[in-house]
């Protein structure tokens, strides 16, 4: 018992900041969102309309939840539950892998296993640690919901539902850690599992059966495959039924049993799935420093492109539903207009709104390319490359070129997806130019972020990663939500995204775009040129 306590205390101590950020972050997010929701959708009529639109469009349900009436609690549960469960799930799987496979990989687990603690007790301690983290998360979340003015009974049901789905994800994370030899493998499988759980219940909601009054939906069977789906079945604030949670609870219990069974038979450091042997010769891509920069950035490119394609598809495939909703209920059109804040045609405004998100995705991708250069430098592999006949200036220039290419690919892929999705629109021909214009309009802002990140890399190398992400994050919030949050104009003007041209039926104002194009190119050029003087700065 004392040994377990020692291991548990070590885990809590090591995670105190990280878990505090996750748990408090989720609770604060819930509290802040509730306040915003009651502000925006204070009236029952507003909620009825937005639920009507969501049920009519279906796709919106994927990103929200199961509609269950217009009461304060039920409406909040619909908007927020699945999203919070997703975050709690990621917290749990990362926790599970961090204390098991990661420890084994780094060799620390071996040192612990050699003490009287043995091979099994550390896993027990990780289970207890993960369970405690989810209990605290559920409790704090319930309190945050109550504090925001929701009724206590339903708030606790919500907290318990998050906690139990967290148990299921924790168990899966531990299971994945048994399967793979690397923490990277275990983390990717468990993140995929969490995302799949989120999407499955989303498909369940979208494919569900709506009620007569368009205020409720009975989810379809895919929701039964997801721990988050079972959380939604509790119907917090309305039915307040905890019995559906027995299923994810049983899932977690069985999986943890399997984990202990595997742990007790396998060798320290071994895994259920053997590591694959790779190729012994390099392929044709790895034959130049440009090929290397490209190859290092392809995984980054693929994930952001997937996001761009999904957003592009949504931008135009939603248009018939939006039109339909607008014809059926003019007040719905009014709500959408208010949310978007534009007087252009409803379809065009929708496209512009979605492509501003594509712009953020492409900018993030470009920032990550700049960050990759820094990671190469810190890791020491840049030193290997620069020890060969690769000039410093060309080395960074190639990262810049890769950055430009990835921006172009994300934007082009999203434009193609948008055109493909326009097939179902009333007038596809008219949407295509809007899509192309909207996608192209994002290019200048993306170049600004690429240039800025490389500029930081060149002059304040240590700050590259935090500054890169912070700048793009803050700019995204200011550019997209600034106007809705009614921030002062000069603050909003700081965000490059705010200056991206907005397509408006052939009379688009491109001035902001040209300015940003000039700034972006200049920043990139200064960064690359500065490599003439810059030494390698490998220290973290």
């Amino acid at each position: 018992m004392t040994r377990l306590m020692v291991l548990l205390r070590q885990r809590i101590r090591r995670d105190r900041l990280q878990l505090a950020l996750w748990i408090v972050g989720i609770a604060v997010l819930a509290y802040a969102s509730m306040t915003a929701v009651f502000d925006t959708y204070g009236e029952e009529q507003d909620r009825k309309e937005i639920l009507g639109v969501a049920i009519a469009t279906r796709t919106i349900l994927v990103f929200r939840g199961t509609p269950n009436g217009v009461d304060d609690g039920a409406f909040a549960f619909f908007l927020l539950f699945a999203w919070l469960a997703l975050m709690g799930g990621l917290m749990s799987t990362f926790l599970a892998v961090r204390h098991t496979r990661k420890e084994e990989e780094e060799g620390r687990a071996e040192a612990v296993a050699a003490t009287p603690a043995g091979r099994i007790l550390p896993t027990t301690a990780t289970v207890v640690h993960g369970v405690l983290a989810n209990v605290v998360l559920g409790l704090l979340l319930a309190l945050a919901l109550i504090a925001s003015g929701l009724e206590p009974g339903g708030s606790f049901v919500w907290g318990v539902a998050i906690m139990v789905s967290g148990f299921a994800f924790l168990a899966f994370g531990l299971f994945a850690a048994q399967l793979f030899r690397t923490s990277r493998g275990a983390n990717s499988l468990s993140v995929t599992f969490v995302l799949a759980a989120y999407l499955l219940r989303g498909i369940g909601d979208a494919a569900g059966t709506p009620s007569e009054d368009l205020l409720h939906v009975t989810p379809a069977w895919p929701s039964w495959l997801s721990p988050i789906g079972y959380g939604q079945f509790t119907g917090a604030y309305v039915e307040n039924d905890l019995t559906p949670l027995l299923i994810p609870l049983a899932f977690a219990a069985v999986l943890i049993g399997v984990v202990f069974a595997l742990q007790s038979v396998r060798d320290q450091g071994a895994s259920l799935l053997a590591g694959r042997a790779g190729r012994s010769n390099a392929g044709p891509v790895l034959s130049s420093s440009f090929g290397l920069a490209w190859r290092l950035n392809t995984p980054i490119l693929l994930s952001w492109t997937a996001g761009g394609i999904a957003t592009g598809l949504l931008a135009t495939s939603l248009s018939p539903v939006v039109n339909q909703a607008a014809t059926d209920a003019p007040q719905v059109l009014e709500i959408l207009r208010r949310a978007i804040g534009s007087e252009a045609s409803i379809e065009e405004t929708f496209v512009a709104l979605f492509y501003s998100i594509v712009g953020i995705l492409a900018a993030c991708c470009a920032v990550q390319v700049g960050i990759r250069a820094r990671q190469e430098e810190v890791h020491g592999t840049a030193e290997l490359v620069l020890g060969t006949p690769v000039p410093r200036l060309r080395w960074l220039l190639e990262y810049w070129i890769v950055g430009v290419i990835v921006i172009a690919i994300v934007l082009a892929a999203s434009a193609l997806a948008g055109i493909a999705g326009a097939g179902s629109a009333a007038d596809p021909e008219s949407l295509i130019p809007a899509v192309l214009e909207a996608a192209l309009a994002q290019l200048p802002a993306c170049l600004v972020f690429l240039g800025l990140t490389l500029l930081v890399f060149a002059f304040v190398p240590r700050a590259t990663i935090p500054v890169g992400w912070t700048v793009v994050g803050v700019a995204a919030i200011l550019g997209v939500w600034g106007p809705i949050l009614q921030a002062p104009d000069w603050v909003i003007d700081l965000s490059p995204f705010h200056h991206s041209p907005v397509p408006a039926g052939g009379e688009t104002d491109w001035t902001g775009g040209f300015w940003m194009l000039a700034i972006g190119l200049a920043a990139g050029a200064v960064a690359v040129w500065s490599m003439r003087r810059r030494e390698l700065a490998s220290g973290g």
Binding site: G275, A277, R279, N281, A282, L286, L384, G387, T388, V390
Partner: protein, 310 residues
């Protein structure tokens, strides 16, 4: 004899830390040069300046008579480099990393010859090229860098503590490869704090401490500075004759043997006296570099400046 590496008054400061404090040394073509010093002496910093990865704060460094900072890329066509703490890409296999580095160095012109050399090196270093970088131990990462370095002929090999992660068997393999490239006429700069390695391989050594050269020369020259140890079987009857020997130092009689040291250039003068005494089981041991090191640093166990690799 042409000079391959030369530095004059080389200085490097990181903020207020002085990493190199007027370093002067040179390496001639075809020489295996040992670059010795404790951690933090400035070995890696010097090497990074010589490769144009860092810039000297003042002073002058040349590589093949050219400026390593301004002409870095061009000079690197003639150089193979193994960094001190080898990092390789976690998601590439060792084989991929070796091929990539070879191609970057332009060593793929004769593909068949390269393939043979690579395979031979993989065999002698016993390296599995199909494992991902993240799965390699420190020693195996070092082997990846060494195979990449030796797989393409170079005029100059710059090796920063290349054997620190290798086991003794692999050190032998490494020594053979160094011999191999030296016979082909290459110049080698080998930094180390493993003295036996330098002693076995190097023609000349430079010893640095706190960013300054403290000794430089051939091993024979440096040995003049130290004392040779002489030992033989103790015979109580001859004790008076032994204590009367001139120029001896640190005389001890222990475990049945007499042990003392003499200045290395005085050894020949002592031998006739020993002959007259008729000593048994005589051994004459030349000083090891350990002795050289202890002489330079033995009295300075105080912490030296932190390794200046910002």
């Amino acid at each position: 004899m042409t000079t391959v590496i030369s530095t004059r008054g080389l200085e490097k400061r990181f903020g207020r830390t002085i990493a190199l404090d007027g370093l002067d040394f040179s390496v001639d073509a075809g020489e295996i040069h040992g670059f010795l010093g404790p951690n933090g002496a400035g070995k890696s910093t010097t090497i990074r300046i010589l490769l144009g990865l860092a810039r000297a704060s003042s002073g002058e460094a040349t590589l093949f008579g050219r400026d390593p900072w301004a002409d870095a890329a061009d000079l690197h066509k003639r150089v193979a480099y193994v960094p001190g703490d080898v990092a390789i890409w976690p998601n590439f296999t060792g084989g991929e990393a070796i091929d990539l580095l070879t191609r970057l160095r332009g060593g793929m012109t004769d593909k068949a010859a390269y393939r043979d050399r690579k395979q031979r090196l993989l065999d002698v270093f016993q390296l599995d090229p199909r494992k991902k970088g993240r799965a390699y131990s420190k020693g195996n990462r070092q082997k990846v860098a060494l195979v990449a370095a030796f797989a393409t002929p170079a005029d100059l090999y710059v090796l920063d503590e290349p054997t620190s992660g290798l086991d003794p068997l692999m050190e032998q393999v490494f020594n053979r490869e160094i011999d191999h490239v030296a016979r082909e006429g290459a110049t080698v700069l080998l930094s180390s704090h493993i003295l036996s390695e330098v002693e076995a391989l190097c023609d000349r050594v430079t010893i640095i401490r706190a960013g300054k050269v403290v000794e430089s020369g051939t091993l024979a020259e440096l040995r003049h500075l130290t004392r040779t140890e002489i030992a033989f079987v103790h015979d109580p009857a001859k004790e008076a004759g032994v204590t009367a020997l001139p120029d001896t130092h640190d005389l001890v009689i222990d475990e049945g043997r007499v042990r003392f040291t003499v200045d290395s250039d005085r050894v020949a003068d002592v031998l006739p006296d020993l002959g007259r005494l008729g000593v048994q089981g005589l051994t004459v041991a030349p000083p090891s570099l350990e002795d050289l090191f202890l002489r330079h640093y033995g009295d300075e166990l105080a912490p030296v400046e932190e390794e200046a690799r910002a």
